[in-house]
């Protein structure tokens, strides 16, 4: 898999061939708090970049998860639906959200590297 890239909305993307795996960042989970519900898109759903793709809910509130890449969803992660708390424990590993077939790989160029993202987070404390 490729090195992860990051969006300003705190999603990460990892690319293998023409498939991108998308999840939310450790920083996002820290802002959200305890995650108690996750809704993921069904396979076959076509979603445009920066549109809502999934939902996470903490004890406090519901938040949308956006896709940083346009395409067709090929698979979503049932693990996090059954055990939402796993998103808190391993957000950038086993608790990915969905895989999407990349429509336009140039969209990846607009995303941040890990070091750029860390800088972005440090400069934009919430």
């Amino acid at each position: 898999m490729s090195e992860k890239k990051f969006s300003k909305k705190h999603e990460w993307v990892s690319v293998e061939g023409d498939i991108a795996t998308v999840g939310i960042t450790k920083h996002a989970t820290e802002m959200l708090g305890d995650i108690v519900f996750v809704e993921v898109p069904e396979a076959g759903k076509v979603i445009e970049q920066n549109n809502q793709a999934a939902v996470v809910e903490s004890t406090k509130a519901a938040s949308d998860v956006y896709t940083p890449i346009s395409g067709e969803v090929t698979e979503s992660n049932k693990l996090i639906v059954d055990d939402p708390s796993s998103v808190n424990s391993d957000p950038e590993g086993v608790s990915w959200f969905f895989k999407i077939k990349i429509k336009d790989s140039s969209e990846l160029d607009g995303l941040m590297t890990k070091s750029d993202y860390d800088k972005f987070v440090a400069e934009n404390p919430s």
Binding site: G33, D34, V36, F37, E39, V55, E57, S58, T59, K60, A61, A62, V81, P84
Partner: protein
Amino acid sequence: MEVQKTVLYNYHKILGAKFVSFAGYEMPIQYSDGIIKEHISTRTHAGFFDVSHMGQFYVSGENLEVALEKIIPADLKNLKVNQSKYSFLLNDSGGVIDDLIITRREKSFCIILNAACKDNDIKQISKYLGENHKFHLCTQTSLIAVQGPKSAEILEKHIKGVSDLKFMQGNTFEFDGEKIYVTRSGYTGEDGFEMSVLNTQVEKLIKNLLEDKVKPIGLGARDTLRLEAGLCLYGHELNEEINPIEANLKWAIAKKRREEGGFNGWEKIKNNIEKGTSKLRVGILPEGKIIAREGTKIFSSTDMEIGTITSGTFGPSVNVPVAMGYVNSNFSKIGTIIKLEVRGKKYEAKVAELPFYKKSYAK
């Protein structure tokens, strides 16, 4: 308006608090452990809550009961010294201006008011007071709640005698050479205490509690705890358009007062008791893991719109989502199958018994 802070603000920071603006105050929503751990630690051990943003209102003077009973439907004449009651301030149509805890003290009544309502509450109460009545909002003391099964055992070590208090009873004790007023009460569904402690001593009290692993608990867990316990939160389950009967809180209006009246909105309330209300507050258990937040529309099994959710979250102790809301009374029977519309889709749920989480209080 300038953002207000409690005396413990800087100490909360040291304890890892994340703050949120609440009723004009910067208050901890959670600490480093997070809401679920804070919730569980309150239910299994004990937690402390800084509730100093709430109003500690004192009123004294002759024939005070007569004046206060016009706006508060509790039986104040028969309330003994050091006894507390959960009650309300009612408007002319019986709507709830605020919910409160009133305690008779030696020479006064102490009324604990919600932070967001306290300024208006004082205006409303003072309408019924005469020239011989004195009142003030106490700012010399912080208000600290300790809640959880171990709270009596732990507090007794620092404040001798508190464990002898019965539920909804208070008294003056001694802490570190100064007076402290403690009641056995709270809003989590657990045994616990609420203390008016001098601002100069509050940090010392907290340090003592922390040594006994009483964790700091933020507004987040306070909300999940009270919701599991089926307790109303003003601005959500209660407001000026809702009367106590609709809120299923008839028990909180003294029987004598229900029969004799003489308080704001009595006719409407009496009528509602006799003939029923068109809507009622109920507990709701959504199916599966779906969380129905405040504002979620409620439908009957045949898709008729019948109400709205007023609070909803995940209940860490019951380990399922829980909610409360108002439904058309025809659909208020426990076990009734209803539907909740979340993000455009309808999910099944049922009307459930309150509280979701049961615990016995010290009687």
